[in-house]
């Protein structure tokens, strides 16, 4: 479909700004899942490929609760808690036995989890799309000719609150220090008295709870279906890798970069079409990793003997 664009400088600028804001909104979605990925990576050193599917499952749980008449905000809060418990149980039963195996084994297990959560969601709720209620007000403000939605503002507030909360938890509290220590060196953590397995269970639980938030954001933007996270997880990983995999600020910045670059691609390189858009974050990842292998906000540690 051809889009008719009036070629005056002002409308061009408005269009650019609008695409920028759209990009920020989807970037916030990617960052929300990216935060969960970073959280689990920082606490357990595992890249959890099932994070997106777990979030989808959470989004369907929320939908189910609202169908039963529970108000949407309350549903989301309940599901965050349920998801955290599911995440903890999944770690304790399925991931813990292979925690000390090689990375390939862990990757296979999380891919298995991906399929398990995806098909469980489909089996319970079916593959028909569902419209999900949104917790955010349906308000749009006009700034000149640019539309700023309450959804966008809410996304950003949620994201800032989560990353600030995580920053405080990990940098300023005794528990956060213990979580970081457990991820840094499992054996030494036990030698200072940190209950290692509990920390891992906590990490998976918190990440799954965060995933539920991400699921709520995605389903409020799009319609619910079991595969709705398929590309979000890829863009989420892209955000995390660009940000440096271990930085909460980094993944938010990474998410915004990926989101904006994606919306700009849609706007200015329509020839790529819907299928080839995904190349953009991949090219970005490669570019960032070539220039700064540790990611934009990652830290290099020189190990000396």
């Amino acid at each position: 479909m051809m889009v008719c664009v009036l070629h005056t400088w002002e409308t061009e600028m408005d269009y650019l700004l609008q695409q920028l804001l759209n990009g920020v909104t989807i970037g916030a979605v990617y960052a929300s899942l990216g935060l969960a990925l970073v959280l689990i990576y920082r606490t357990t050193n595992i890249a959890n490929f099932a994070q997106g599917e777990m979030a989808t499952f959470s989004a369907f749980l929320t939908w189910q609760l609202t169908q039963w008449g529970v108000p949407i905000v309350l549903s989301i809060l309940i599901v965050i808690v349920i998801s955290a418990i599911i995440g903890a149980v999944v770690y304790a039963i399925l991931v813990r036995p292979v925690q000390y195996k090689d990375e390939m084994t862990i990757i296979i297990v999380t891919l298995g989890l991906f399929l398990a959560f995806n098909s469980t969601t489909g089996a319970i709720w079916g593959y028909m799309q569902k419209t999900s209620p949104t917790p955010f007000p349906d308000v749009v403000w006009m700034m000149g000719n640019v539309r700023v939605s309450a959804e966008l503002v809410s996304f950003i507030l949620v994201l800032v609150a989560i990353s600030f909360g995580l920053f405080l938890l990990f940098q300023k509290t005794r528990l956060g220090n213990a979580l970081r220590a457990a991820a840094s060196n499992a054996q030494s953590a036990q030698l200072v008295g940190i209950p290692y397995t509990k920390m891992m269970i906590l990490g998976w639980g918190m990440a799954a709870g965060l995933g539920a938030v991400s699921g709520a954001l995605v389903s409020s933007r799009l319609s619910l279906d079991p595969n709705m996270m398929a590309d979000v997880i890829i863009y989420g990983f892209a955000s995390a890798v660009i940000g440096g995999m271990s930085s909460y600020v980094g993944v938010v910045v990474g998410g915004l970069i990926v989101g904006v670059s994606k919306s700009m691609t849609i706007a200015f390189l329509p020839a790529l079409g819907a299928d080839l858009q995904i190349m953009v974050p991949l090219v970005l990842i490669v570019a960032v990793l070539i220039v700064k292998p540790e990611g934009l906000f990652g830290k290099t540690v020189a190990a000396r003997v």
Partner: protein, 236 residues
């Protein structure tokens, strides 16, 4: 009074048995040293005591049985273990390493005082307090490992080869500090060392471990004067 009392300790890895029933103890405020060649089972002894390796036998801390408990429970009971290869938290800063060392404690004021004391004992750590532990030199990492272990306010401090890989000058300084820690803080220690000369100087009692068995034990001065020990471990 015995702080640590180990009886008939047997341990190994899979089918390979390393320790064949060893007994040793450390008195309150004393320093015991465990000498032995490579592969004699020194490190395994410490790992068994701190719960990193499964073992049979009795491990009594202040008379309480620790055998069979999880490593983190043993640590919270008061056994600090500065492991071989140091095992600092490389992506935490020096200060965070020390703070995490005090994980089992909740006395915030005392923890802050102890941190100051660590910086006084190891001034190099003060200079580097905001650097990641992974960026420290080998000697600094060893200081940090000892400092972190002390932050636990241990009933007994297990030190595995504190001199390993360090320049002689740094080793001398480290042992002087260890001796000071023992005298001023009264910290009970069990030290595993290849550098027998230095270890025997600060120790009160010594054990010689050979192929997983204690072959000789006695007051440190007597062991230092023992002909066989002099030939085997003191380079005479």
């Amino acid at each position: 009074m015995k702080v640590l009392d180990v009886k008939n300790l047997e341990a190994g890895y899979g089918r390979i048995k390393v320790l064949h029933g060893i007994s040793l103890s450390v008195d309150e405020g004393a320093v015991s040293v465990l000498l032995g060649a490579n592969g004699a089972g020194k490190t395994t002894t410490l790992r068994a005591i701190s719960g990193l390796v499964k073992s049979k036998g009795n491990i009594l801390l202040d008379g309480k049985e620790m055998s069979g408990m999880r490593a983190d429970v043993i640590a919270r009971s008061g056994v600090a273990h500065a492991a071989e290869g140091r095992g600092t938290f490389t992506d935490l800063t020096v200060e965070e390493n020390l703070r995490v060392g005090a994980f089992r404690r909740t006395d915030k004021k005392e923890i802050a005082l102890d941190m100051e004391q660590m910086y006084e004992l190891f001034p190099r750590l003060l200079e580097r307090r905001h650097q990641k532990a992974g960026n420290l030199s080998g000697g600094e990492q060893q200081m940090l490992a000892v400092g972190r272990a002390l932050m636990l306010r241990p009933r007994v401090l297990l030190l595995d080869e504190p001199s390993l890989g360090l320049a002689p000058v740094i080793v001398n300084g480290l042992f002087a500090t260890l001796s000071r820690i023992n005298k001023e803080l009264g910290t009970t220690m069990l030290i595993v060392e290849q550098n027998a000369n230095l270890a025997l100087e600060i120790a009160t009692y010594a054990y010689v471990l050979e192929s997983g068995k204690i072959s000789l034990e006695g007051p440190a001065q007597e062991i230092a004067a023992h002909d066989g020990v002099r030939a085997a471990y003191l380079g005479d």
